[in-house]
Symmetry: C2
Subunit: 315 residues, 2 copies
């Protein structure tokens, strides 16, 4: 008889749900439902329960055969508890007990921050997962997560692993949303990339069209050798490399994994990041490998499912 785990990725607009075979971790099916608008402390857990109940009925799966549910949320989480959540109405919520009241006791539950769950899932998805891994995701913002000795680093209150706010640029004048300045995200997030490129376009010839600028267009132009685009891409790679060098000093991971939309530019970006990493790392940690993330926008459901499976297996 097959056994199953669910991976649930709770976002601001939708809740993604994936059902996995516990043994092979093959995904049986996945779907998404709208995130409820209000009263999230109740409605999110009701919605998850209803969704998996309906899915089980359609697939003729008994809840008895579901061994675990992993849940991620877009806010800091410490041991399953949310102190403060900007994106959802989940302040002071124990995610585990909130979900547990809908479910039979045999179901293992884990809950963590979405970016750290993604880090866990990306590492677990490698051919040979490492004990110590760092995921850096490059998208609208810059995020990520840190895994040490196979465990997610949450920090004192769940704020650990917020890689986008590592200070990398001492000369920055603008204040970041986090209250500091010179953050990695200010340079390597979408706004940082576009603004820097626009400034370059004022004085330089380029194939880029300043009225239709996108991160993808910039990376594509860089691959074609456009000087302005190359300058931007090198700047992004440089500061990701510097941030990685700091992470290697503090936590010495076995691997860096680069994910998020920007990582779609593939080895072109990865090679540049690694070049700048080596320039900034000390001798002893210069050879830590860099890999591209593979789970894409399923990182949340895969990571959540893998995390709960690992908790079940280590019991």
């Amino acid at each position: 008889m097959s056994k199953y785990v669910y991976g649930i990725d709770v976002g601001g607009t939708s809740i993604k749900i994936g059902l996995f075979d516990m043994k092979s971790m093959e995904m049986i099916n996945d779907f998404e439902v709208e995130t409820p608008k209000y009263n999230h402390k109740e409605t999110i857990f009701e919605t998850i329960y209803q969704s998996i109940t309906n899915n089980n009925m359609e697939l003729n799966i008994s809840l008895d055969d579901v061994l675990g549910i992993g849940i991620d949320v877009p806010c800091p989480v410490k041991k399953g508890f949310v102190i403060k959540c900007v994106n959802l109405d989940l302040n002071d919520t124990d995610l585990i007990s909130s979900m547990k009241k809908y479910l039979p006791n045999h179901i293992e539950l884990v809950a963590a921050n979405d970016a750290t769950i993604a880090a866990f899932g990306e590492n677990a998805s490698l051919n040979k997962p490492y004990d110590n891994a760092v995921l850096i995701t490059l998208g609208t913002g810059v995020g990520g997560g840190v895994i040490l000795d196979g465990v997610i680093v949450e920090g004192a209150t769940g704020l650990g692993g917020e890689i986008g706010h590592i200070k990398v640029y001492d000369e920055e004048e603008k204040i970041c949303g986090c209250g500091s300045k010179g953050c990695l995200e200010q340079i390597c997030g979408t706004a940082g990339i576009l603004n820097y490129t626009k400034t370059l376009l004022l004085d330089n010839i380029s194939i880029l069209n300043k009225d239709h600028l996108s991160v993808k267009a910039i990376f594509d132009a860089a691959k074609l050798g456009d000087d302005v685009a190359l300058k931007t891409v090198h700047r992004v790679a440089k500061y990701i490399g510097i941030a990685a060098s700091m992470l290697s000093i503090i936590n010495e991971p076995d691997v860096f994994i680069i994910g998020g939309g920007v990582s779609k530019s593939g080895d072109f970006l990865l090679d540049l990041i690694q070049k700048y990493y080596k320039e900034n790392a000390r001798f002893t940690t210069g050879e830590i490998p860099f890999k591209l993330a593979v789970t894409g926008n399923q990182a949340g459901i895969i990571g959540s499912a893998m995390l709960v499976r690992s908790v079940i297996e280590n019991k």
Copy 2:
């Protein structure tokens, strides 16, 4: 019947040894012996064994009542194993099995890097130890260690927690001994402090005597309001604060502990570090407390003894 643990701090010139009551952690006695000159893979462990045997005889303590021995060494250690050691001839040495062969089986052994052991000991020495702590030591070099969920962060090969090599100063031109540049140690280590002050003294009036310059003299002059000394001390505090802000982003400790010789300047330095930390930390982590280290040059023996005791207690 009392039970005991030993804490051993292996340095390049001496081995410090402390005997502690297992229950109260009161230090019964401590002493030091010269570090053997050669063949460390054998002689260090022989020396430790002989030293504790002699000490036990003098104090009329049976080896049966020694429950654990903690050992620190001045090089990276991963799970009790040294891959490479610059300071001692301990390359490719399993510290645990090298020590174990001299001892009865009931004695628990732990071994780790000296700075990370100190971090463990400093945190454990607080009135109320935290789960997550960072020690930053300011001496000839800048070192430290990271404790997460009560466990020392060793990283992939034992190079974790080497706080002195966090890159904090993008404009640095000189290469650091680690191969990178702009490292915290380049600014806040003794050489960095003295060199910067000497440069300031070329063009500025000061009560400092450039021919008899020391870190202590600089901090003392700063307390008296000397402008040159104050400029140096603010620079040190600023970059410690920036490094701490990075550590808070990545690992979010519950506490920062400042140790090493420079920390003897006390609250004067601590308050400045905290000021710069707050300026550079994001809103959510600005309130992490800073404390002064208390174990002084006994950090190694206290930390080693406390670490092995915690392993015994958690069994």
